[in-house]
């Protein structure tokens, strides 16, 4: 599964990619913000993991942009963010995010949420 990892922090991208490899997802594409992610997004991307707070284009705007994209209407989106205010999480879901992880995360939670999103997408298909 090809995963697009979007975070403005190089440290976080590295941790996410490493964690993904550890749980069996070795094919990752990295983007440093929402705008970069939109440019790199194509039909080959099967899963998107994005931060919220990023320059140029936020994760929330990225989710909206992907949902408006011909290839992104049903791509699973997992948001990984420090934001944990109820209203923010609701806004993320309304923007098209499928599941939400609060930073700092554990690899176990990352795996659980990816599995949940994939199984949810499979059930909806």
């Amino acid at each position: 599964m090809k995963i697009l990892v979007v975070d403005d922090s190089a440290t976080m991208r590295r941790i996410l990619v490493n964690s993904l490899q550890r749980i069996g997802y070795s094919e990752c594409v990295e983007a440093s913000d929402g705008r970069d992610a939109v440019e790199k997004f194509d039909g080959s991307i099967q899963f998107v993991i994005t931060d919220w707070n990023m320059p140029n284009m936020s994760g929330l705007d990225l989710a909206r942009a992907l949902r408006a994209h011909a290839d992104g209407k049903s791509v699973p989106i997992l948001m990984v963010s420090t934001r944990s205010v109820k209203e923010d999480i609701i806004a993320a879901i309304q923007a098209g995010v499928n599941n939400y992880i609060v930073k700092p995360f554990t690899p176990q939670v990352l795996k659980e949420k990816i599995d949940a999103v994939i199984s949810g997408a499979a059930a909806a298909a």
Partner: protein, 242 residues
């Protein structure tokens, strides 16, 4: 240049003393006008400035000259206040802002170095695995030790998330300082009406570097991760109907 406590006290004392003198002068002007009823400052000033044929021009001009001299004194004190406020507060904010950036940069560099070190350590564990596959395990515990070591290295990498969170906290602190600086500069300008239309004498902090725009979550925290995740899970379950 910074303003110490003694300078603060002296400035405050001078300002108060000058304001008292002005008030006294204004009251004198009011008395010259012969009106005993309490009036507003504006009324008293207008009264003092209105020629009174009964008093003649000499008494009024003396009072006005004294009032003018006192007001000039107050304005000088206020200008000094503005200058000291700018220097003491804004310089200190600049310094703190720079320190926060320094800490943020140092943390990021350290995090990168640590991650590089962890990568190298992982490669070494892989080398040990390859060696064991080629030459056989040196003893019964070797494989288990390598796996435990790999788990530990992976866990350490996960802990490096603190860098992203503290970086956001530092960016938030910098943004607060920038806002404080702007407000203090505005207050300093109010102290000196002559400076209203002039540019600030200090260089304002730039919260956003156009090459490196900064975003942050003001509530970013490393605390109560499990509880906050539980809140997110409950909302996701409700909203997505799972």
């Amino acid at each position: 240049m910074t303003m110490n406590h003694k300078q603060h006290s002296e400035l405050l004392y001078d300002s108060e003393a000058t304001l008292r003198l002005v008030d006294s002068a204004i009251q004198d002007m009011g008395e010259l006008g012969g009106d005993e009823t309490p009036r507003s400052l504006e009324q008293r000033l207008m009264s003092a400035l209105t020629p009174d044929p009964a008093l003649g021009s000499v008494g009024l001009s003396d009072a006005l000259a004294r009032g003018y001299a006192d007001i000039v004194g107050v304005l000088d004190s206020l200008r000094q206040s503005r200058h000291l406020l700018e220097r003491a507060s804004v310089d200190r904010i600049h310094h703190t802002h720079d320190k926060l950036r320094e800490v943020s940069d140092a943390t990021e560099t350290a995090a990168t170095d640590i991650l590089n070190g962890l990568d190298r350590a992982n490669t070494m564990v892989d080398d040990l695995d390859a060696y064991a596959n080629t030459h056989g395990e040196p003893d019964d515990r070797a494989s288990s030790v390598r796996n435990t070591l790999r788990d530990e290295l992976f866990a350490l990498m996960g802990h490096m998330q603190f860098q992203d969170i503290t970086s956001q906290q530092l960016n938030y602190a910098s943004a607060v300082l920038t806002e404080m600086e702007t407000r203090l500069t505005n207050i300093a300008r109010v102290f000196d009406p002559a400076a209203f239309s002039s540019a600030p004498s200090v260089i304002l902090l730039s919260p956003v570097d156009s090459n490196h725009p900064v975003t942050f979550d003001p509530n970013a925290s490393t605390q109560n991760r499990a509880e906050r995740q539980a809140v997110a899970d409950a909302i996701v379950a409700t909203k997505s109907g799972t």
